[in-house]
């Protein structure tokens, strides 16, 4: 009738992902899992055992041999197994791993927020010397928010839309019976100042929907700081934010941690963030802690193969331009001139109209077999541009010359025959495939509607599935049986069914883990070299753009502020805005990173996963 509670759902999704990654190997693995793990731990986790039960005085939080079981019938029996680590006072500990690695389960176990079906089966969580595993619910509650606080990934949904910002901050104090209404109020305002929100008096009375994502995350931080907890757990707090906002929030967490001597447990999947903020790092894979050590040690000389793979998969600014595919005929595919789109809401009649110029005089051109990256923050108009180009939306002005023909003014019926030539790859591989259709139906329905015989469509679909790296059995299966990365492969195969001239990829890898991201980027690169398709790659991630694009256009407030090859954008940016964007990329000290991060056939033998 409705969704299961958030946590359950999240774990389920992780498990589904996991099961796909493991695929056929599951039976074999089940048998040998025990041996494999102990071997790993002996070799790679020096701190895993032999520690005294009582933690030393400089340890704020000590997790010892923690195992959390999953309900029966799941792919694996444990969400995390025998995980041990220490969070030292006044330090930032990063827990890094891909989705399904158990990092969020670890955080929720520490907070005592695990859903009922998932239980801590063994191990200890020592908080200031007290083991909180098995503590009564009411005692756990009194610790939450007072001794340990937590901030979450998505600031847009983490605040109650019906309560003012001030009331939500005060609620922490109310819940723990601290202060009087007047003192709570002044404390809340102090906190708003502390996290750097403008006009705190006004902010206090504001409802969350009025705030931007970054501002809401600041409110979350203010809330977490209200009772000066010893430990802050941050569960991917910057993943949903723009790169410049991310840099600001990281800076804020760093500052506050230093000022208050707080201990921070920071969960992330991004090694760039780790490089930026961590003192100590714990690497998790499939519920096990595979490596831990100081940030410098783990980043510079990773011991475990998985860590090395993760680091290698992180996209880096190459600063080098892409070697274009073999020079064929360079035909102009797309030429856009002065394209404009303005959003109007409200009613002109009653003068309540709001006008937002989403795309404002954008011009560029694209030749065959090349990739143009469109980068910008949310609200920059990059997605609107994508929708205009594929005519999911009518433009207000300008022209779109596709193979020399202006498609801007075409009606839907006139444009329809051209649709197969321009295809789109969507951001969310979970939402963009119909869950009730098999992959085969998803791939063939479009071409059949455009007149391709069914048998031919099926044949081509099977061909493409193997081309994008899925086995032939995928044809009969449903989307939910695949992991995020595999679904995105299905999405790519779907777009290729028509032999398009132009692919528009709107944040096509943003929802994926870094290692999967690298694979998908490689696949797109390979496809382009084979088919000569042109691509417009829309992304908020400059690092990703630098990997795959021949040319990059930086969008800001509906306009292209700078356009050029990656080398210019990243090494010698002309506009201030581009400079800001580049500077905000986490963990990127230009040119100082070792050259392990390159991938892609023509950049020379990249890592394969």
């Amino acid at each position: 009738m409705s969704q299961p509670p958030m946590e359950e759902w999240h774990v389920e999704r992780q498990i589904v992902d996991l099961s796909k990654k493991r695929g056929k190997a599951k039976n074999r693995r089940r048998g040998s899992q025990q041996d494999g793990r102990t071997k790993l731990e002996r070799e790679d986790v020096p701190m895993a055992s032999g520690e005294p039960a009582a933690a030393p005085a400089d340890v704020a939080l000590s997790v010892r041999e923690l195992s959390v079981s999953l309900p029966q019938g799941m792919e694996r029996a444990y969400a995390i197994e025998n995980v041990s680590f220490d969070l030292k006072r006044g330090q930032i500990l990063c827990i890094i791993g891909e989705s399904g690695s158990g990092k969020s389960v670890t955080a929720n176990a520490i907070m005592g927020l695990l859903p009922k079906v998932i239980r801590v089966t063994s191990g200890a969580i020592n908080l200031n010397g007290t083991n909180i595993v098995g503590l009564a619910r009411e005692k756990l509650r009194s610790l939450r928010g007072r001794v340990v606080s937590m901030i979450f990934q998505d600031p847009l949904s983490a605040l109650n839309p019906l309560m003012t910002v001030g009331a939500q901050i005060e609620e922490v104090m109310v819940a723990h019976d601290v202060g009087t209404p007047a003192s709570r109020r002044s404390r809340a305002i102090d906190l708003l100042i502390e996290v750097g929100l403008p006009d705190p008096q006004l902010m206090y009375h504001q409802y969350p929907f009025r705030l931007s994502g970054g501002q809401r995350q600041r409110v979350m931080i203010a809330m977490a700081l209200a009772l000066e907890p010893a430990i802050l757990i941050a569960d991917e707090p910057t993943t949903a934010l723009d790169v410049t906002t991310q840099a600001q929030i990281l800076q804020l967490i760093r500052d506050i941690q230093r000022r208050k001597g707080m201990s921070v447990m920071f969960i992330t999947h991004d090694f760039g963030v780790v490089a930026e903020i961590a003192d100590h790092v714990v690497v998790m894979e499939k519920g096990h802690c595979v490596e831990q050590g100081s940030a410098a040690q783990v980043l510079k000389s990773p011991g475990h193969l998985y860590t090395r793979r993760l680091i290698a998969a992180v996209p880096h600014l190459t600063g080098k331009d892409r070697i274009p595919s073999e020079a064929g005929e360079r035909a102009s595919i797309l030429k856009v001139e002065c394209l404009a789109k303005t959003y109007r809401s409200g009613s002109a009649l009653f003068r309540t109209q709001r006008i937002v110029p989403a795309v404002n005089g954008v011009s560029f051109d694209l030749t065959s077999g090349r990739t143009l990256g469109v980068v910008g923050e949310s609200g920059s108009g990059k997605s609107s541009l994508g929708r205009l180009l594929i005519k999911l939306m009518e433009c207000d002005g300008g022209s779109i010359l596709f193979e020399g023909r202006d498609i801007a003014g075409l009606s839907e019926a006139e444009f329809r025959p051209l649709r197969p030539k321009i295809q789109m790859i969507f951001q969310d591989p979970f939402a963009s495939l119909n869950p009730r259709s098999t992959v085969g139906q998803i791939l063939t329905v479009g071409p059949v509607a455009h007149g391709m015989p069914y048998d031919e469509a099926c044949e081509r679909a099977r061909e493409l599935l193997s081309h994008v790296g899925l086995d032939a059995g995928a044809f009969e299966r449903y989307p939910h049986e695949f992991s995020g990365g595999q679904r995105q492969r299905v999405g790519i195969a779907r777009a290729l069914m028509f032999k398009p001239k132009l692919l528009i990829a709107d944040e096509a890898v943003s929802a994926l883990d870094v290692s999967i991201q690298a694979q998908i980027l490689k696949l797109l690169d390979q496809i382009q070299r084979e088919t000569g398709v042109s691509m417009i790659f829309i992304t908020h991630d400059l690092r990703v753009a630098s990997q795959i694009c021949d040319e990059i256009a930086v969008m800001h407030r509906g306009q292209i502020v700078e356009r050029g090859p990656p080398s210019q954008i990243f090494l010698d940016p002309k506009s201030t805005y581009t400079r800001e964007l580049v500077a905000a990329i986490p963990g990127e000290q230009p040119l100082s990173m070792p050259e392990h991060a390159e991938y892609g056939g023509h950049h020379k033998g990249g890592e394969t996963l």
């Binding site: 958030m6 927020l113 939450r144 949904s157 019906l162």
Partner: protein, 316 residues
């Protein structure tokens, strides 16, 4: 806000015109008509019938009749009943209170109990209570009301003799207790379906609110489960319920056809049925316009309430 209200008012007027035209046309397309009953009356000659038709204006073209009716309506004249010549508004007024009493009681009961069952079902999901509530709701929704009504009369009136079988009061008594005594059975029977609907919707909405991230945030703040439910969950869960309540509003005043008939309750539902049977077109049209206005009003009130309680809509 005022712009929004003005906009809605204009829309409502257009809708009312359309509803009245359709209603008027369909009513007059029905075979027979108000004078058909006299055709079999040996005391009436064809000439008498024609004279009556001319007198009532029924011999004019349909569009002229409609315009005449609409023009009078605009001036506040809802017309006169063919049956006893009293004005339509008086007729409606005579039945309105009875319906208000019955429907008001049962709706208030249904919303209260339904919301409670729904919230408890959501917070104790998959418990025995939840299963019983789910099965109960399915039964209440799938069994027709008249059956419940008749079974209720059979058990509580005929077998146990606890409550009267019908009517609103005992002739010659009419005390408040007597009214309440008569009210119990019909209002309970009527609320069965509504409790079922409300509990299902409320359960879904509560589960939805419970799964929101801000509930997790509240837990991470150390807020007690009770306060989470009261402060964060119920408020957000009630938002979609307001629309449902708005849709219920008209039925409070237009009555329940079946239940009122089974319990011979002198309310609006029975008035509608009777007037239709007597081809009392002015009253039928009056009821039609009355309920159309209520539907529009109910939706408007729901929208205004949502806009007042939800800051995202209030300030956007």
């Amino acid at each position: 806000m005022s712009a929004f209200l003005l906009n809605r008012l204009l829309q409502s007027i257009v809708l009312l015109v359309i509803v009245s035209i359709i209603g008027f046309t369909v009513l007059n397309l029905m075979p027979g008509g108000p004078l058909a009953q006299f055709g079999l009356d040996p005391g009436m000659t064809q000439k008498d019938v024609e004279r009556l038709a001319a007198q009532l204006g029924l011999n004019r073209p349909l569009w002229m009749q409609y315009l005449d009716w609409a023009w009078r309506l605009l001036q506040g004249d809802w017309g006169h009943s063919f049956r006893d010549g009293s004005s339509v508004l008086t007729v409606i007024g005579r039945h309105l209170l009875a319906t208000l009493l019955l429907m008001g009681t049962s709706t208030a009961f249904a919303i209260g109990v339904g919301a409670w069952i729904g919230i408890r079902g959501a917070t104790h999901r998959y418990s025995l209570f939840d299963y019983c509530a789910t099965v109960g709701a399915m039964v209440a929704l799938s069994v027709p009301t008249f059956w419940f009504g008749l079974i209720g009369i059979y058990i509580f009136t005929l077998k146990l003799g606890w409550v009267p079988a019908g009517n609103m009061y005992t002739i010659g008594d009419g005390s408040i207790l007597d009214y309440l005594h008569h009210l119990i059975l019909p209002s309970l029977v009527l609320s069965l379906v509504h409790v079922a609907i409300w509990s299902r919707y409320m359960r879904t909405a509560t589960l939805d609110a419970l799964s929101q991230d801000f509930v997790k945030t509240a837990r991470a703040k150390g807020v007690s489960e009770r306060r989470i439910l009261l402060k964060h969950v119920i408020g957000n869960a009630l938002l979609p319920m307001i629309t449902l309540a708005g849709m219920q509003l008209p039925s409070i005043l237009t009555g329940a056809l079946v239940t009122e008939t089974v319990f011979t309750w002198p309310g609006m539902g029975r008035l509608f049925l009777d007037s239709l049977g007597y081809s009392d077109y002015p009253v039928v049209m009056g009821l039609l316009i009355f309920s159309a206005i209520l539907v529009l009003l109910g939706n408007l009130i729901a929208d205004i309430v949502i806009a007042t309680v939800d800051p995202r809509i209030r300030l956007a």
